[in-house]
Amino acid sequence: MIEIQNLTKEYGRIKAIDNISFNVDKGEILGFLGPNGAGKTTTMNIITGFISSTSGVVKVAGFDILEDPVEVKKHIGYLPEQPPLYPDMTVNEYLDFCADLKKIPSKKWKSEKKDIMELVKVTHVSHRLIKNLSKGYKQRVGFAQALVGSPEVLILDEPTVGLDPKQIMEIRNLIKALGKKHTIILSSHILPEVSAVCDRVVIINRGKIAAIDTPDNLSKALTDFSRFTITIEGPENKVKNIISNINGVKNLKTSAQIRDNEYSYIIEADKNADVRKPLFYQLAQQGFPILELRSLNLSLEEVFLQLTTNEEKEAV
């Protein structure tokens, strides 16, 4: 559906994007992951035709963005990081304008508008001026704008930034639902978000692709141990002694003292050995109850640290 080959964008001597290539298949949700300034927005701006690349090819639905920009734009709905809203319009007027701009036949638009507004839940604010809406509602209106004309490809630049947790959940579910019909590229700097929603992830750093894979494979490949945080009631020394004698535990440190006689620890264990059961039995035997046990996700920062340090090692 989307083909990107050797895409480069230079600003003076700085390469905002450096020779990146990837494909997105029809119906796929692709996550675009990277820290601020990595080149996510630049790439998205090029795919949508907002800015032009220095070199490289972008094709959407078989059309080249440089040769057939209007055709490409017909196939794309874009939600930029800052939703492109006119504050002096009501939600209704604004969506009508978007449909007008995208040349949607007015008969078809009437029913489509109703569906879109219900989907992103803005029906009850449809008569209000956009400038009076909260950040979350503005984001939804921006989302509605991208859905106008039901484009095959949706490009969403950090769609959940600045929303409250409930709204984030809603937007994520919405994206998942939309992924059944649309091809989606979604950018984010939050790893759990991407792993919750996306089929495949592109990690981009300083304009270059650091990795492309499924979210599961990425976190597995990057760690050869699993990590837990565990809170146990009992004297620190004794507990530590028990844990470190369990087969498979590689590293153990105390992370905090919660109360008198209650500590939490971070355990790094061999990935192939499940240490949770022996932990439970042995601690229970000694009369030190486990109050909390959960596995720690590898955060994006750590993934990055790992990826970049690996590269440096290879370079040496």
């Binding site: 949508t48 209007v70 007008d100």
Partner: protein, 235 residues
């Protein structure tokens, strides 16, 4: 293009800007009209329309400053440029929206010639020719204002650029006085204001009409170039 014209035109009348501009314009024109009442019936219209066009230097910068600058500031530029619309259509949409507001303002001023027609027998062709010239020069100024608005996201700066350019354009003919021979002819030829004065004297010349429209087209094309260039920018 129609979508953009409709949206922008409505947006002028949703904010106080159109009403304030038209109100201010009519008030000042009323004062002018009053002071011209002593003139003969044949002179009053051309004098009056001439002062209308010199008033444009105050009105046009305020009218056009928001066109593209506001979209850049709101981020709606992204929406326009990623829609299946060509840049030329966007710029022309912006231009025609302003032009329509300008026409509404112009229509409001027709009350003054109407008064003259009621009380006397002015030369109707003279009124038509003055108004034609006025509308054409208005189009040139608006295209200039849209161009200035494409250069910056600050509306105040856009309006000042428009003001300065309008002043320069109005005085090209004056500059011609400093030269003789060929240069003098060139300056007089490109002087938009001298051509405008022909209309004001009741002369409708096809060359001048084409000239004014070309001026408008040049600024519109320049605006398209500016936007395209920004998209291709490497720095």
């Amino acid at each position: 293009m129609l979508a953009i014209i409709r949206r922008d035109f409505r947006s002028y009348f949703k904010s106080p800007i159109a009403y304030v501009l038209i109100g201010l314009y009519m008030l000042l024109l009323g004062l002018f009209f009053n002071s011209y009442l002593g003139l003969g019936i044949s002179d009053i219209i051309s004098e009056f329309v001439a002062s209308m066009s010199s008033m444009l230097i105050l009105i046009i910068p305020i009218l056009t400053m928001r066109t593209l600058a506001e979209d850049k500031k709101n981020g709606t530029e992204v929406l326009l440029l990623t829609s299946p619309v060509r840049v030329t259509e966007i710029v022309m949409g912006k231009f025609f929206a302003c032009f329509c507001v300008f026409l509404v303002m112009t229509a409001a001023t027709l009350i003054f010639p109407l008064i003259v027609i009621i009380v006397g027998k002015p030369d109707i062709m003279m009124i038509i020719s003055s108004y034609l010239g006025y509308i054409l020069i208005g189009a040139v100024y608006i295209s200039l204002g849209v161009f200035a608005s494409s250069l910056t996201e600050n509306q105040i700066i856009a309006s000042i650029i428009t003001l300065v350019f309008m002043f320069l354009i109005q005085n090209i003919g004056y500059l011609a006085g400093f030269f003789s021979g060929f240069l003098n002819k060139v300056f007089l030829w490109i002087s938009i204001f001298d051509r405008y004065m022909d209309f004001n004297k009741g002369i409708i010349d096809l060359t001048s009409i084409v000239f004014m429209i070309s001026y408008t087209a040049v600024f519109t094309i320049l605006t398209v170039r500016i936007i395209e260039r920004k998209r291709w920018s490497q720095g």
